[in-house]
Symmetry: C2
């Protein structure tokens, strides 16, 4: 590969990173194979569970994350995208360990909100218990005027965490109902849009009827950030 | 990665290899991230056009294919899958250049036909002009009792080649009609099933109503071969 190639640190989960590769391709304005962005996907689903590490004393995922980064460096990539929101809890440690720029998924989500016409103010945020506990979105977005409404603990236990687990177990259709209900509850509480801040969630939400409010797909957002990094045009929204 | 990891030589085209990663994940029997197959996808869409190389004196793709194989070896993979039928015209040269086993997509297609209940006999074969000119399927499958009916030159020019090009240019929905018509013509001529022997074709065929005869999806076939190589169970067909 060359420095024009994108490194994708994936496998967290593997369906989300495959979907990222699909959307990266579909969102690139291309007429033939050779117009597309060269990429290496390092899909290592064995990375220890990020949420368990952060809130339940589980194994530290950082060594496995750094092994992936070393692999992408060795492959000759010029930048790294990580289609897993929770892994961004280790962003600073990863960025300190590599000279390659890592595209930050929260910045990509903000750009996606703006692209959807949503301006700073109250938004809903769905994510893993780890992402919410680490306040990944809140701390990065508050200085820019965004306020995050999040599911309460009962909603996390009954709706969001089971919905994410369904996608990781390939039961995508079953994930729709709980995830859509959680999003609707955030809108009822004043959110003007809902960030699907775990890359499994867009897969579940896509498995049923479209929601009647803006949703920010963090897979698409990160794909558009990567297309921008590569200096390519994004095609029309699809 | 480790020798239990699958190397995927992709980018030919990039949408087909992303779809391969998606199907590899969905077809694996898994309850959580850590149950899935570790994989590295080397998606280099810059590999010179395989069909142009074989039938129009275009640039030889072998050096680029071997660079990808070196990258997958360096990443520590234990086997290689190539979700591009035409690239298998260089199979012997690639296999001679690496100690890693390369799963052959034609063998995977045959296993998929048998899984669908299709027994040796006349089948339809759609593919790129390069794949047909190289007789990749005919020479490997004839000794096992399969006979391949292929589109004639006019059907290739009017239906199959444009359908494949639509997928490579991200116009997947537009690819359905010409590809479905070409498949139907093969069945009218006596094919008992149709092999979608170019990994762009299943994407186009999936964009419209299901065809009323068995179709062999070479993306799914190769994914099942990889799951078998990894010693995993394939989940129920989906």
């Amino acid at each position: 590969m060359t420095e024009q190639s994108l490194g994708v640190l994936g496998g967290m989960g593997p369906l989300a990173s495959a979907q990222f590769m699909l959307r990266l391709t579909l969102l690139t304005d291309a007429a033939r194979d050779q117009d597309h962005i060269p990429a290496v996907l390092w899909s290592d689903p064995r990375v220890p569970d990020r949420t368990a590490a952060r809130i339940a004393g589980g194994e530290d995922p950082l060594p496995a994350l750094l092994r992936g980064i070393r692999g992408l460096e060795a492959a000759g990539c010029g930048a790294i995208a990580i289609p897993c929101n929770t892994a961004h809890g280790w962003f600073d440690a990863m960025q300190a360990a590599t000279p390659l720029p890592i595209l930050h998924i929260v910045d990509a989500a903000e750009a996606e909100l703006l692209r959807l016409g949503v301006t700073p103010g109250p938004i809903g945020l769905m994510g893993t218990a780890g992402t919410l506990a680490m306040r990944l979105y809140q701390e990065r977005l508050a200085p820019r005027g965004w306020t995050c409404l999040v599911p309460d603990e009962a909603e996390m236990t009954r709706l969001v965490s089971p919905g994410i687990a369904e996608v990781k177990a390939n039961r995508v259709a079953e994930a729709y109902a709980p995830l859509a209900e959680a999003a609707q509850l955030l809108v009822a509480r004043g959110a003007r849009a809902v960030v699907l801040g775990c890359t499994e969630i867009p897969l579940g939400i896509a498995a049923g009827p479209a929601l009647p409010f803006p949703v920010c797909d963090t897979i698409d957002g990160l794909a558009r950030a990567a297309i921008g990094w590569a200096g390519r045009a994004a095609s029309h929204p699809m």
